[in-house]
C-alpha cells in the first residue's frame, strides 16, 4: 500500500494534493466535490485587505448618496438592521465548509500593509479555519520605497497576524524578491509554519483600441512551475517552515517534482479549472501508478530528493545553469 500522506503546517493530510485559493473553493458544494475527488486540503479564496475597507466605504456611500437633500426623499433604501459584508460572507462560507468538509480548510488573507483588517485573522480562527495563508501581494509603485522596507513591512505584518491568532500561518510570496533565501529565513524567524511558492503576478493588458488598461486574468501554465521548483529546491532544508508549491502544477509528474524538490504539498487550481474537478482523480491515480512503477512506498521517501542539498551537482541551481542553458542554446543554433 503506497503511503501518500504528508504533513503541512502541522496538519496531517491524506495526500500532497491541495486545491489552492481559486473560484473552485468559493462554494461549499464545490469543495465537497473536490474532497470526493481526492483533495487533501483546500485553501479558500483570498479575502483582500482592500476589500474590507472598500466594501465598508462603498456601502456607506451607497446608503448616503442623495440622502437628506429633498423633503420627499430623505433616503432611497430601506434601513436594514445589519448588513452582511464581505467578511461576514467569508466567515459564514468558512463555517459552512468546516461543518461539512472532512479535510483541512485553510483560509486566505490577501494584504500588504498592517492595519485594522489584521484583526480579521482572529475571526477567521474563531470560525474554525485549520490554518491561514497570508498572501502578501505587494506591488511597489513608489520609487522612494526600498526593497528592504517592503520586506520589513511583510515581516511586521506576519508578526501582527501571529499576535492575533494561534492557528498555523503560511505566507504566500511573490518570486520578486532580490534574495529569496534571506527573506524566507526572516519570515521563518518570525514564526511562520509554511511558505507558499509563489503567487502569480497578474499584469493588466493594454487595450489599444479604447486606449485603456484592462485587468486580465490568465490561468497558470505548466512552464511556470520550474521557477517554483527552483526556489523550493534551494530553500529546502534551511527552513523550519514547510514548503508548498503552487502555480503551474498541472500533472502527476508536476506533483512528484514538487515533492522531490522539497515541497510538503503541491497546490493546484488552473488545471482543475481547465479540465474539471475529476482531473484530480486522474492526477492522483497517475501519481500512484508512477510511484508503483518506480517502487516508491511513500511520499515522505522522495521529499527533497532533488533538492539542492540532495543532488550531486548543485551548479544547475546557481550560475552554472545559466551558463549551461546559454551554451546549449548556442550549440543548438550552430548545429
Amino acid at each position: 500500500m503506497i503511503d501518500l500522506t504528508t504533513e503541512y503546517l502541522g496538519l496531517k493530510l491524506k495526500s500532497p494534493l491541495v486545491v489552492s485559493s481559486s473560484p473552485l473553493t468559493e462554494s461549499t458544494e464545490s469543495i465537497q466535490r473536490l474532497e470526493a475527488a481526492g483533495a487533501a486540503a483546500v485553501v479558500l479564496p483570498s479575502i483582500f485587505e482592500e476589500q474590507l475597507s472598500l466594501e465598508s466605504n462603498a456601502l456607506d456611500s451607497d446608503l448616503s448618496r442623495g440622502t437628506d437633500s429633498f423633503a420627499e426623499s430623505m433616503t432611497y433604501f430601506p434601513a436594514y438592521e445589519s448588513y452582511r459584508q464581505g467578511q461576514d460572507a467569508y466567515l459564514s462560507h468558512l463555517r459552512r465548509t468546516k461543518s461539512v468538509a472532512g479535510i483541512p480548510v485553510l483560509a486566505s488573507l490577501n494584504g500588504a500593509t498592517a492595519g485594522g483588517w489584521v484583526t480579521f485573522a482572529k475571526e477567521i480562527e474563531q470560525a474554525g479555519a485549520d490554518a491561514l495563508e497570508l498572501n502578501t501581494y505587494a506591488l511597489p509603485t513608489d520609487p522612494r520605497i526600498t526593497g528592504a522596507e517592503i520586506e520589513d513591512g511583510i515581516v511586521d505584518l506576519v508578526r501582527l497576524v501571529k499576535q492575533n491568532t494561534t492557528i498555523p500561518i503560511a505566507v504566500k510570496l511573490t518570486p520578486r524578491f532580490t534574495s529569496i533565501p534571506n527573506f524566507a529565513a526572516k519570515l521563518d524567524r518570525a514564526g511562520i509554519q509554511g511558505i507558499v511558492l509563489f503567487n502569480r503576478f497578474y499584469q493588466p493588458d493594454f487595450d489599444i483600441e479604447n486606449l485603456s488598461v484592462v485587468p486580465r486574468l490568465t490561468l497558470s501554465r505548466p512552464e511556470e512551475l520550474l521557477l517554483r521548483l527552483h526556489w523550493a529546491a534551494i530553500l529546502y532544508g534551511d527552513l523550519n517552515a514547510d514548503i508548498a508549491i503552487t502555480g503551474g502544477v498541472h500533472s502527476a509528474e508536476d506533483v512528484l517534482k514538487a515533492i522531490m524538490v522539497g515541497g510538503q504539498v503541491a497546490m493546484m487550481a488552473s488545471v482543475l479549472l481547465l479540465h474539471g474537478i475529476p482531473e484530480l482523480v486522474i492526477i492522483q491515480s497517475k501519481l500512484l501508478r508512477w510511484m508503483e512503477e518506480h517502487e516508491y512506498q511513500s511520499i515522505r521517501q522522495m521529499r527533497g530528493s532533488l533538492s539542492r542539498r540532495s543532488v550531486a551537482d548543485v551548479s544547475p541551481f546557481e550560475r552554472g545553469n545559466y551558463i549551461k542553458t546559454l551554451s546549449s542554446y548556442t550549440l543548438r543554433k550552430t548545429a
Binding site: 456607506d60 456611500s61 448618496r65 442623495g66 437628506d68 426623499s73 448588513y83 452582511r84 486606449l211
Partner: protein, 1210 residues
C-alpha cells in the same frame, strides 16, 4: 401605570409604532409626507415584528391610494384589523371607500399626515385641506398636535373605533409634526393591551363576512328605504364622543397623559380665546403663557375630536368669561361662509343660544381666519396678532394671519419680533448642502442630547426644492423643559454655516441672537477669513458681538477619507463650542453614536469617522474680531438685476428664501408663471466643471446629448462673430460638410453645471499621448468661473444654427439644436432629463407637455424657477401638471382640445375665405406639416393670415385670431415616471393608448418611485431592493412595451440613450411622425439605483448588453408597408445579468441582507432576461404581412374578403 420609555423619533414613527401593532393588514402607497409610516410598517414586517395579537401584519403596497383603500376595505370586511397611511391627493382617492367603510359602520383607522390639496399648485406641505375634504365621509376625525400625541391619539383612535364602530381618521400636521424629531414617551404593548377591550375585538371579527355564516353587505337600495337605512347610523355617531372621551380617560389612567375632546389651556377667566387644531397649538400655548404672565387673560381651546363635533363638550370646555373668540382654520374654502372649523363653532354657539342651553351667558364675538397653509410658519408673534385683534372694538372676520394680503386686505398685522422662546432652551441653526451630511449629523446630535442627557430636544429640517445642490436648514432646540415650539428658529444662540459659498448671497446671520456662536466651514483660516466676508456679514458679526469660529471642514474631510461628508466634522465642532455638553463627554458620545450608526457599515467607516472627530477638534479655530467692517464687497442678489421684473422681484425673493415676505398681489392668480426662468439662477454648485479641448474634440455631440442639465452647448457660426469674443473664448473648425468656412464652439455654462461628469465619461476622444486626457475634462470651477461666465454670456449672444441646415436624426447635428429645457434642479447626473432635453431640441417649439406628478414635475415645475424655456421666436414647450393618477388623460384632453380648435379654425378659415383670399385659405388647409420646414412655412402663412385678419371687424375674424395658432401642427407629449405609467396611471395610460389619438407618451423609467424615496413600482426589476420590497422584489418587471404592442396600432419603443443614442433619436422621430399614439419607455438611471451616476450611461449600456433592457421599436407604419413592425435594435445578451446588476446597490443590498434569496432571485431574473429575449427576438424574426402567405382560412364562396385579410402575424 405601565412603565414608559423615552425615544427620539418623529411624528411618523411615533404614530406608526402604534398603528402597526394594532393591525393585521396594512395597505400602503407612497405619498409625502406619510410615506415614512408605510416604510416603517414594511420594514418591521420584513423583520418579523408582531402585532398585539402575536402575528406579523401583512403589508401590501397597492397601485394607488384608491387601491390601498379598496384593499383595506376588503380586509376589513373579511374581519381583519386594517389600516393605511396617506395624505393629500392620496386621501382624496380614498374618499369613495371611506364613505362605504363608514356607511357599513366598520372599525377602521386611517392615519393621515395632513397636507395641502393641490389647487393652483401642488404642495407637499402641511395644512388641513385634505382632512376637511373628508368631512362628509362619516369618518370621525381626531387631531394630534405633537410627536407625543401622534402616538397617544393613534392608540385612542384604534380603541375608540372598535368600541364605536365609527371609523377614524387620525391626523397630524404634515412635516411640522410628521417630520419633527422630538423626545417622546413610547407606548408599551402592556398599555395597548390594557386599553383594548376584548369584546370589541371579537365583535369586529364576528361582523365579518363569512361563508360559514353567510351575509350580504353593500346592497343597492331604492328610494323606498335608502333614506331610512342611512339614518340607522345616527346612534353610533351620537355615542362616539363619549366613547372617545372614555378611551382618553383610560389612556390617562394608564400613562398619566390626559386628553379631552377639547382641551382648554390658559387663564380660567380668559376673555379672549383662540380655537384651533393641530401643531399650531404649541405656538399659541407658548404665547398664552407668556402674555398671561404679563397680566393678560387669554386662552386656547385645542380641538382633538373634530368630528363628530361634540358641541356640548366644546362649549363646556370654554371659560365662561370668554368675550371674543378667533377660530383658526388651516385651509381655505373659497365658497363658504368661512372655513369649516369656524362654521362648526358658529353653529355650536348658535344652536346653544337658540335652544337656551349655552353655558356661556353672553354670546361672544366670533371671528374666523386662515393661517399656516402649506406649512406656512405660524409663530407666537402671529398668535399674539390674533389675540390683539380680539381686543379691538371692530373685529376683522375671515382674516388671514402670517401673510400680507394686499389684495382683499384680509390679513391681520403682527409684530414679527415678538418672541416667547424659553431662555433655558438652546437654539441652533445649521445651513448645509443636501449632500454634505448636515441633516444626518443634526439628527444624530438630537439623539445624543435627547437620550444621553436629561435634556429635551427638538429638530426640524427645511429643504429647498432642488434635488441637486439643495440648501438644508436644520432648526435644533435643546433644553431642560419640554419643547413645544412648533415654529422655526428666528433667534439662534448658535449658527453654523457648513458651506462657505452660501455667504456669497445668503444673509446667514439674519437669525443669530446677540452674542451667539457662529461656526463657519471655510477654506480660509482664522487670520484670513475676515477679508473674505461680505460687508453685511462683517457688520452683523460686530454688531451682534458674535463668537466666531472657523474650520476648514473639507480639508479635514478629504484628509480623513470622508470625501464630501462633513457630518461628523461639523457635529464635533458644534459640541466643542456650543457648550451643550462638556467637550470630552460630547466626543465620547459622538464616537459611541458613530459606532452605533456606522458599525453595521463596517469598521473602515467607523474608523474614518473617528479620525474625522479627532481631526475636527484640532482644526477648529476661534477668530479674533477686528474693530470694524472692512469689506469692499457685499452680498450678491440671488438673481441678477438684468432679469425681467417679475423674475427679479418675485421669483428672486423665493430663490433668496424670502418668499414669505411676498404680498398676495405679487403672485399670479390661478398659478400661471412664465417659462425660461431657471437660467437666471446661477447656483454655482459644481466643484469641478468640464473644460473643452478643442484640438482633441471630434465634435460628435455626445457630451451635449447626455448632459442632464443642458450646460454643454455647441454652436456653428460665422467667423466674423468672433471679433467681439472674450479673450479665452475657444473655437475650432467645424467637422461638417459645408460648414468648414464657419467656426464651432463647445461651451460650458460654468455657473449652472452640477459637476456630474457624465459628459467626460461619454466622451470617446482620448489624447494619443496621454490616455486619461479626453476632449472634455473636469477642472476646478472656482478659477474658471469668471472667464467662463463671460464666455458663456458671449456664446449665448451667438445665433443658433438654422435648423434647416441640420439632420434631425443625427446625434452630431442634434447638438446644434437649441434645447428648450435647461439648468433643472434635478439630481446631478439625472438619467431622465437628457431625454426631456432631447424632446425639446427636436419638437420644443410646438410642444404641449402633460406631466405626471413625480420627479419630472418637481424639477420641471417647482417654484421658484422652471427649466422649460423659449427659443428666439418666443416659442417653446408649454407645460402643466394635473395629478399623479390622471396624466395620460390630461394629455389626451389637450389633444382633443387642439384637434377641436383646429377643426374650428379650419371652418372659420373657410368662412372667411372671401376676406383673406382663397389662395391663402387653400394653402393653409392643404399644407403638409410632416417636416419642420413645412411647419415653418405654415407658421408664415398663419402670420399672413393674422395680419389680414387684424383689421377685420367681425366676430368670425376675432374668433379665428384666438385659434389661428392651432392651424400649425402641435405635439402633445405626456411625461411621467414608472410609478405613474405602470401603477397609479396605468388604467388611463392604457385607455389613451387604445384611443388611437395622436398623443405621445414618454415614460422616464427609473424602475422605482424616485421622487418619494425609492419605493417599489411594478417596473421595479426582480431581485432589486426598494422600499416596500425590502426582501428584494420577488416578481418580474411588468412589460408594458409588449402590452402596448398588443394593440397593434401604438408606436412603441424601448430606448436607452447610453446604449444607443441613435436608436433613441430614431424612436423619438418615429413616434412624433406616427399619426397615432406612441409610447417610449426610456431607461433612466437614477440616484435610487445606488451607484455613482457618473457611470449612468455606462450602466445603460450594460443593461442592454445583458439583455435586461432590449432596445426595440414597434412601428405600425411598417405594417402598412407589409413589413414586420417589430424591430429589435440590440444584440443577443452578451454579458450575464449579474455583470450589469451587481454594479448597483439596489441589487447588491440583497446579497448583504439575504444572500440566498439574492442568489435565487438573480437566477430567476436571468431567466426573465432569457424569456424576454426569446419573445422579442421571435417577434422581430417574424415575417411581415407581405412576406407571408394567407393565414386566414379561405373565404367561402360569395363572401367578400375584408381589405388586408391574411398575412402573417402582423
Amino acid at each position: 401605570m405601565s412603565e414608559q420609555e423615552t425615544a427620539i423619533l418623529d411624528g411618523n414613527e411615533s404614530c406608526a409604532r402604534v398603528a402597526y401593532r394594532l393591525s393585521q393588514v396594512i395597505t400602503i402607497y407612497p405619498i409625502t409626507p406619510s410615506s415614512t409610516m408605510a416604510e416603517w410598517a414594511d420594514q418591521w414586517q420584513s423583520e418579523g415584528r408582531k402585532n398585539i395579537w402575536g402575528t406579523v401584519p401583512v403589508v401590501a403596497e397597492m397601485q394607488s391610494e384608491g387601491g390601498a383603500a379598496g384593499a383595506m376595505h376588503g380586509a376589513l370586511q373579511a374581519g381583519a384589523f386594517s389600516t393605511t397611511f396617506t395624505a393629500s391627493q392620496g386621501l382624496l382617492l380614498m374618499i369613495p371607500n371611506m364613505f362605504k367603510i363608514a356607511g357599513e359602520l366598520t372599525s377602521n383607522v386611517i392615519h393621515v399626515t395632513a397636507r395641502a390639496v393641490a389647487t393652483h399648485a401642488l404642495s407637499i406641505f402641511g395644512d388641513h385641506s385634505d382632512i376637511m375634504a373628508c368631512r362628509s365621509t362619516g369618518y370621525a376625525m381626531l387631531s394630534s398636535a405633537s410627536v407625543q400625541e401622534a402616538a397617544d391619539l393613534a392608540l385612542v383612535s384604534h380603541v375608540a373605533t372598535l368600541e364605536s364602530r365609527v371609523p377614524f381618521l387620525h391626523f397630524f400636521d404634515g412635516f411640522r409634526t410628521s417630520h419633527e424629531v422630538n423626545k417622546a414617551l413610547t407606548i408599551s404593548d402592556e398599555t395597548i393591551n390594557a386599553m383594548l377591550d376584548e369584546k370589541h375585538v371579537l365583535a369586529h371579527r364576528q361582523r365579518a363576512l363569512s361563508s360559514d355564516n353567510p351575509i350580504l353587505r353593500g346592497s343597492a337600495q331604492n328610494p323606498d328605504v335608502f333614506f331610512q337605512a342611512r339614518e340607522t347610523c345616527t346612534p353610533f355617531y351620537l355615542a362616539c364622543p363619549t366613547i372617545v372621551q372614555d378611551a382618553m380617560d383610560r389612556f390617562a389612567a394608564e400613562t398619566g397623559r390626559a386628553y379631552h375632546l377639547f382641551d382648554y389651556v390658559g387663564a380660567p377667566d380668559a376673555d379672549r380665546v383662540v380655537v384651533l387644531m393641530g401643531s399650531a397649538a404649541g405656538a399659541v400655548e407658548e404665547t398664552i403663557e407668556h402674555l398671561n404672565a404679563q397680566g393678560e387673560k387669554i386662552g386656547l381651546l385645542k380641538v382633538r375630536l373634530y368630528r363628530p363635533f361634540a358641541s356640548e363638550a366644546f362649549l363646556a370646555a370654554l371659560p365662561r368669561t370668554v368675550k371674543s373668540i378667533a377660530v383658526l382654520d388651516r385651509c381655505k374654502e373659497p365658497t363658504g361662509l368661512g372655513e369649516p372649523l369656524y362654521q362648526d363653532v358658529i353653529t355650536a354657539f348658535s344652536e346653544a343660544f337658540s335652544s337656551g342651553t349655552s353655558p356661556i351667558a353672553v354670546q361672544p364675538r366670533i371671528i374666523g381666519g386662515r393661517y399656516g397653509l402649506s406649512s406656512k410658519e405660524f409663530t407666537p408673534a402671529m398668535a399674539k396678532g390674533v389675540f390683539d385683534e380680539l381686543k379691538k372694538p371692530q373685529l376683522k372676520n375671515r382674516f388671514t394671519i402670517g401673510i400680507n394680503d394686499d389684495v382683499t386686505h384680509s390679513s391681520l398685522d403682527y409684530h414679527p419680533e415678538f418672541s416667547t422662546e424659553d431662555p433655558k432652551t438652546v437654539r441652533a441653526l445649521f445651513y448645509g448642502l443636501g449632500a454634505d451630511g448636515t441633516v444626518g449629523a443634526n439628527k444624530n446630535s438630537i439623539k445624543i442630547i435627547g437620550s444621553e442627557t436629561p435634556n429635551f430636544a427638538q429638530g426640524y429640517f427645511v429643504y429647498d426644492s432642488r434635488k441637486s445642490g439643495s440648501v438644508t436648514t436644520s432648526h435644533l432646540r435643546f433644553g431642560p423643559n419640554p419643547i413645544r415650539s412648533t415654529y422655526l428658529i428666528s433667534n439662534a444662540n448658535f449658527v453654523a454655516c457648513h458651506q462657505f459659498s452660501f455667504l456669497e448671497r445668503m444673509d446667514i446671520l439674519e437669525h443669530a441672537a446677540p452674542g451667539a456662536v457662529f461656526l463657519l466651514n471655510s477654506p480660509y483660516g482664522p487670520e484670513e477669513i475676515w477679508n473674505h466676508l461680505p460687508k453685511t456679514t462683517q457688520e452683523t458679526i460686530l454688531k451682534k458681538k458674535l463668537q466666531f469660529y472657523v474650520i476648514d471642514g473639507y480639508t479635514v474631510a478629504r484628509e480623513t477619507g470622508m470625501g464630501n461628508r462633513l457630518n461628523t466634522i461639523m457635529q464635533t465642532c458644534f459640541f466643542a463650542i456650543s457648550g451643550v455638553l462638556p467637550s470630552d463627554e460630547a466626543i465620547a458620545q459622538i464616537k459611541k453614536s458613530i459606532k452605533k450608526t456606522y458599525g453595521k457599515r463596517g469598521d473602515a467607516v467607523v474608523q474614518k469617522n473617528f479620525a474625522a472627530v479627532d481631526a475636527a477638534v484640532a482644526a477648529l479655530h476661534k477668530v479674533t474680531l477686528p474693530e470694524k467692517a472692512t469689506a469692499t464687497f457685499d452680498l450678491l442678489p440671488m438673481l441678477p438685476k438684468e432679469a425681467p421684473a417679475f423674475v427679479y422681484n418675485v421669483l428672486g425673493m423665493m430663490a433668496a428664501g424670502k418668499g414669505d415676505q411676498l404680498p398676495v398681489s405679487a403672485l399670479p392668480a390661478g398659478g400661471t408663471f412664465p417659462t425660461g426662468t431657471a437660467k437666471w439662477e446661477k447656483r454655482n454648485i459644481a466643484q469641478t466643471i468640464p473644460v473643452w479641448d478643442k484640438d482633441l474634440c471630434i465634435q460628435c455631440g455626445k457630451c451635449v446629448l447626455v448632459c442632464p442639465h443642458a450646460v454643454i452647448r455647441a454652436k456653428v457660426y460665422d467667423s466674423s462673430l468672433l471679433a467681439n469674443a472674450p479673450e479665452t473664448f475657444k473655437s475650432a473648425k467645424p467637422k461638417w460638410k459645408g460648414m468648414d468656412q464657419e467656426l464651432y464652439t463647445l461651451q460650458v455654462a460654468p455657473e449652472d453645471c452640477t459637476g456630474c461628469s457624465l459628459c467626460v465619461e461619454i466622451c470617446p476622444a482620448k489624447s494619443k499621448s496621454e490616455a486619461k486626457h479626453k476632449a472634455i475634462n473636469m477642472e476646478l470651477q472656482a478659477p474658471l468661473r469668471a472667464p467662463e461666465a463671460l464666455n458663456w454670456s458671449f456664446f449665448e449672444s451667438i445665433p443658433t444654427v438654422n435648423r434647416d441646415r441640420l439632420s434631425h436624426t443625427q446625434v452630431k447635428d442634434i447638438q446644434l439644436l437649441e434645447p428648450l429645457f435647461e439648468f433643472s434642479g434635478a439630481c446631478s447626473g439625472c438619467g431622465e432629463t437628457p431625454y426631456i432635453k432631447l424632446l425639446t431640441q427636436l419638437f420644443g417649439d410646438r410642444l404641449y407637455i402633460a406631466n405626471a406628478t413625480g420627479c419630472s414635475s418637481i424639477y420641471g415645475g417647482n417654484l421658484p424657477t422652471t427649466p422649460y424655456t423659449k427659443n428666439g421666436s418666443g416659442r417653446g414647450p408649454t407645460w402643466s401638471n394635473s395629478l399623479f393618477e390622471d396624466n395620460a388623460e390630461f394629455g389626451f384632453g389637450m389633444r382633443l382640445a387642439l384637434d377641436q380648435q383646429k377643426e374650428y379654425a379650419d371652418d372659420l378659415l373657410k368662412r372667411l375665405a372671401p376676406t383673406v383670399g382663397d389662395d391663402l385659405v387653400t394653402a393653409i388647409l392643404t399644407a403638409s406639416q410632416s417636416k419642420e420646414c413645412e411647419i415653418e412655412a405654415q407658421r408664415k402663412r398663419v402670420l399672413t393670415l393674422r395680419s389680414k385678419l387684424a383689421g377685420v371687424d367681425s366676430l368670425e375674424a376675432r374668433a379665428l385670431l384666438t385659434v389661428a395658432d392651432s392651424l400649425v401642427r402641435k405635439s402633445v407629449w405626456v411625461l411621467g415616471g414608472d410609478g405613474w405609467a405602470y401603477d397609479i396611471g396605468f388604467g388611463g395610460l392604457d385607455h389613451v393608448l387604445g384611443s388611437g389619438k395622436n398623443v405621445k407618451v414618454l415614460v422616464l423609467d427609473t424602475e422605482t418611485y424616485s421622487n418619494t424615496g425609492g419605493q417599489m413600482s411594478k417596473s421595479t426589476p426582480r431581485g432589486a431592493v426598494a422600499k416596500f420590497a425590502e426582501g428584494g422584489k420577488p416578481n418580474s418587471k411588468k412589460d408594458i412595451a409588449m402590452e402596448a404592442v398588443a394593440y397593434g396600432s401604438v408606436y412603441v419603443a424601448r430606448v436607452a440613450m447610453g446604449s444607443s443614442d441613435m436608436q433613441t433619436v430614431k424612436a423619438f422621430q418615429e413616434a412624433e411622425a406616427y399619426d397615432g399614439p406612441a409610447l417610449i419607455l426610456a431607461y433612466s438611471h437614477c440616484i435610487a439605483h445606488g451607484y455613482d451616476l457618473t457611470y449612468g450611461m455606462d450602466q445603460q449600456k450594460n443593461a442592454v448588453l445583458s439583455g435586461y433592457w432590449p432596445l426595440m421599436r414597434y412601428n405600425p407604419m411598417l405594417r402598412t408597408e407589409g413589413k414586420n413592425p417589430f424591430q429589435l435594435d440590440s444584440k443577443a445578451p452578451s454579458i450575464p445579468l449579474k455583470e450589469y446588476a451587481y454594479h448597483e446597490a439596489r441589487y447588491t443590498m440583497l446579497t448583504r441582507s439575504r444572500p440566498e434569496v439574492a442568489k435565487h432571485l438573480l437566477q430567476e431574473a436571468q431567466d426573465d432576461v432569457e424569456r424576454t429575449w426569446r419573445v422579442y427576438s421571435g417577434r422581430a424574426a417574424m415575417a411581415g404581412r407581405s412576406e407571408t402567405p394567407h393565414i386566414a382560412p379561405p373565404e367561402r364562396e360569395g363572401a367578400v374578403a375584408p381589405l388586408g385579410a391574411g398575412g402573417g402575424d402582423e
